[in-house]
Amino acid sequence: MKAVWTIAKRELVGYFTSPVAYVFLVIFLLLTGFFTFTAGNFFERGEASLAAFFGWHPWLYLVLVPAVGMRVWAEERRSGTIELLLTMPVATWQAIVAKFLASWIFLAVALVLTFPAVITVNLLGEPDNGILFAGYVGSLFLAGAYLAITCMTSAMTRNQVVAFIVSVVICLFFILAGFNPVTDLMARWASPALVDTVAAFSVVTHFDGFQRGVIDTRDLVFFLSLIGFALFATGVIIRGHRAG
């Protein structure tokens, strides 16, 4: 566990010593603000909730999370430091988990910095803060799922741009599988059971419950197993290209 913490700490410090992290944070906060208050019609809704805020997260993360995670392994491979890291007395899974955790913590920090939205809605009305909390938990797991997928694609290549694009495409599939316009289209020719099965693989479907304030074990299991699977695949990919 100590090795995991050592590596995660290095990654985190790495994030905060590079200007890119601050650019990311500013862009993330500007975009959440824009989508919530302008595009999301926060004021016109007349309800004391952050539905306008959370509703955009699957789309916002689609671009921002791969931007955070694309360098995780691609950069190690490009610069050759992967050889240094994996010849240290640490197991490969420790390095994978550590790098994932560091990026996840960074995303959590970004999410925490959206607290003015919570303050705003509390000043204007009397929202159910339990629902808001559940929304944040769901959002964090959503970001974690995208991040794990990005770690996986990042391990496939030494080119960050490739990692970014492939991650966006994969994450997009996980949105579209449960995106209403898509499921409606599918319902025209597919059986309801099939539509439901496909939708069950979508992050949107599982994020919905959190937004309504329900922390359902099934949704948690979905996100955790998606993360677990993607990180396991990362391990397989890394072992693969080490073997040559």
């Binding site: 100590k2 090795a3 050592t6 590596i7 290095r10 410090v13 790495g14 010593t17 590079s18 610069s79 050759g80 430091t81 050889e83 240094l84 994996l86 010849t87 240290m88 007395p89 640490v90 197991a91 080490r242 073997a243 040559g244």
Partner: protein, 322 residues
């Protein structure tokens, strides 16, 4: 009881690095083909070979970065495939091109390496002080690695490999890209460290073999083609044991009964018919000179040249035929 049994295991087996029938195949191509050797404590092994001969691949397998296609690597009695963590603990590794995290300062990078090696608090501070002194990094400690010159970056990565005072040191081209002074320093460091460790370093600079190695292995197209002390390798040279004579009045005709004679820049090089009797050749030449009353301007015994040996045994067949 475990630490004691470990100790016994290590001290009983002098060969700290033991490599048996190592093979690495990339598709149909065998990058490393049945390589076996051992390195004992106190030995500095130079790993020579042309580019692409399989040096880096072999080192990656020794350090546990790459699993071999077949064969075994044992470090201090620990099999790299079966107990990778224990084996890696004993190794310090300087990868090719001295990879290091560019966004970190030298100090942060070394502290990171120390922590991964299990050094904390006072022990970490002491280790840091030691390697900073060994690798002359005092001046750049708080500089970030991407602003360092190549020489400093190399030494930073070298310091990383020494931080836990490992029993085994694996270095992939440790002097690559350094200026002559830095090369000299690194070679001296390697030689000093060699007395208490088992060291393997790869290079394609032959003078390094003389400067730092107690033994050298030449590898070509994945196979070991020579293994011996620098003197033994030099002895494989055609010229080894030849006598070069520069004397007024000397002629190839008179010298030819002693062996094959070759003229070089006004001097004569006489090859012994039998390499093991090279000493007798020198005496025979002296006898001839005094009999013929030639005026000797210079005479010496050739020890052989490493680069000639290297070229002869690592040239591709196609080139050799020409």
């Amino acid at each position: 009881m475990r630490p004691l049994s470990k100790l016994v295991r290590i001290s009983r087996d002098l060969a700290v690095i033991k490599i048996q029938n190592l093979v690495k195949a990339f598709g149909a191509k065998r990058a490393v083909d049945d390589v076996s050797f051992t390195v004992e404590r106190g030995e500095v092994l130079g790993f020579l070979g042309p580019n692409g001969a399989g040096k880096s691949t072999t080192m990656r397998m020794i350090t546990g970065f790459m699993p071999p296609t077949s064969g075994r690597v044992a470090i201090g009695g620990f099999d790299v495939a079966d107990s990778p963590i224990e084996a890696k603990r004993l190794i310090g590794y300087l990868p090719e091109n001295a990879a290091a995290y560019p966004d970190m300062t030298v100090r942060a990078f070394l502290e990171f390496a120390a922590e991964l090696r299990g050094l904390t608090g006072g022990a970490r501070k002491k280790a840091l002080g030691r390697v900073v002194e060994q690798c002359f990094l005092e001046a750049v400690l708080s500089q970030s690695i991407d602003t360092l010159s190549k020489g400093y970056r190399h030494r930073t990565c070298l310091a990383q490999s020494l931080i836990h005072d490992p029993q085994v040191l694996i270095m992939d081209e440790p002097t690559d890209g350094l200026d002559p002074n830095q090369k000299h320093e690194v070679r001296n460091l390697i030689r000093d460290l060699g007395s208490s460790k088992a060291i393997v370093f790869s290079t394609h600079i032959l003078e390094e073999v003389d400067a730092a190695c107690t033994r050298a292995i030449i590898i070509d197209r994945g196979r070991i083609v020579a293994n011996g002390t620098p003197a033994e390798l030099r002895g494989m040279s055609e010229r080894a044991g030849a006598v070069v004579l520069q004397a007024q009045g000397a002629s190839a005709e008179k010298l030819s009964p002693l062996g094959r004679v070759e003229q070089v820049n006004g001097a004569f090089r006489i090859y012994p018919a039998d390499k093991s009797k090279a000493g007798a050749l020198a005496q025979a030449v002296i006898d001839l000179v005094s009999r013929e009353r030639w005026k000797v301007e210079g005479m010496f015994n050739e020890a052989g040249e490493l680069d000639e040996v290297f070229r002869r045994i690592t040239l591709p067949d196609t080139v050799r035929k020409q």
